[in-house]
Symmetry: C2
Subunit: 255 residues, 2 copies
């Protein structure tokens, strides 16, 4: 990356779902040139320490502080990488950085800033299960930290009416043990009860676990903070394969 007037730059990088084999060469190169790496503790832990590199691990829920810190370091000449898991543009740090930019000094918009995409969780989960997102689909963040539940409920109902396959990010947390069950209740009102639901936990890591159940049997406690949930559309199909989880795919055509 080329430096701005200060020589500094900011890359907002996606580390992918977990496996190092899914980190793009572009991200690896940015990390090799960085003076500072900023992010949530478990993501910064994926970056190897080396001389000349300062790691800035921070707790969750301080996204705006983290984003402003990164912009200040880049403005001062740092070569800064903000790391997210998955893709930084999907429910992650990229939007937070642009929010901080708008709230900050006007010249922050002229910094050398690039978003480096990564393999987002829904695409990693989809790949491990087959191709459930092979036709039109949507992605909804189930966390109601930053939006009202009424909006989430409305989007779920409209997504079912549109017959999208539906990827649910942040389906459940300790603070929100009930949102995923509430989402399933909304979908059960609109969708056939045999609609396949994929629970894909910690994909591409040693803890990976895949499970496919019909919507009628889907329960919130089948997911945790590391689980991606994908609800098929009306055309999504399963292909049994012995003892392994079935393949799940959505055909390219729709009637």
């Amino acid at each position: 990356m080329s430096g701005g007037a200060s020589g500094g730059w900011l890359a907002i990088a996606g580390l992918g779902p977990g496996s190092e084999a899914l980190v793009t060469p572009e991200v690896t190169a940015a990390l090799a040139q960085a003076t500072d790496v900023i992010g949530y503790i478990p993501y910064v832990a994926r970056v190897a320490p080396r001389p000349g590199l300062t790691l800035h691990p921070t707790d969750n829920r301080v996204e705006m502080d983290r984003a402003a810190h990164a912009l200040r370091l880049a403005a001062a000449g740092g070569r800064v990488v903000v790391v997210s898991s998955g893709d930084p543009g999907v429910f992650a740090m990229a939007a937070a950085v642009f929010e901080a930019m708008e709230a900050g000094p006007a010249d922050w918009a002229m910094l050398d800033i690039r978003v480096l995409p990564g393999i987002t969780a829904m695409l990693a989960a989809s790949a491990r299960a087959g191709a459930p997102l092979g036709h039109d689909f949507c992605a909804i963040n189930l966390s109601d930290n930053l939006k009202p539940w009424t909006l989430i409920a409305r989007r779920l109902a409209l997504a079912a009416e549109a017959d999208f396959a539906i990827a649910l990010y942040n389906p459940r947390s300790r603070a929100r043990p009930d949102t995923l069950d509430a989402a399933f209740a909304i979908l059960r009102e609109a969708c056939a009860q045999d609609r396949p639901v994929l629970f894909a936990r910690a994909v591409t890591t040693m803890q990976e676990h895949l499970r496919v159940v019909p919507l009628a049997q889907a329960r919130g406690d089948m997911a945790d903070m590391r689980t991606m949930v994908i609800v098929g559309s009306s055309t999504t199909r399963t292909i049994p394969r012995g003892d392994a989880a079935p393949f799940l795919y959505t055909p390219r055509s729709a009637p």
Copy 2:
């Protein structure tokens, strides 16, 4: 990858949007082990020839023949990579392979098959523009080759009602010069006229070109077959940056 009983395997791999810096190491490793690479001519052209590797470039619109060919080669012991651009699970070859599997011999389901995810066009385009997909969003394929236009129109209207940011794949082709204008007409009925629309052509290649216009001024002829179109949600914002295309992002929170 481990071989099945025949020693053969099939990987359905995503090459990303164009830049080699966005090809995952997992895909690079699969290509290095392959005996056969199968896909649409311009994607196979991205794979370097070498001794022991047979390239099988095929024309567009023969996805099912290509998929069945790949399965037959893997069943016969080949180490086969089917290549797509972007992510193979998003409007690409993975669904076609599973369709061919269901239509073929039952033991094809027991082959060693893996989908290797890639950076899909909407995430590459989003990254180059900022973070327009930073909140809930959907992806709709505008091609009516495999689904009726009435279904596409219905999904567009419901996506606008749900206030998703909307990524439009295959927005326009020579055979369909009018579908994108028809889509904009539907969205103009439901959305504010200043909603930002991103036209991102050939991202991460030498031909990359980004343009952001308000929905009122968006026209179908601003896109071609290599363009990704992303329509912002009601909360999507732009940040001017001199002569360059503005940053475009959707905040994490919604009212």
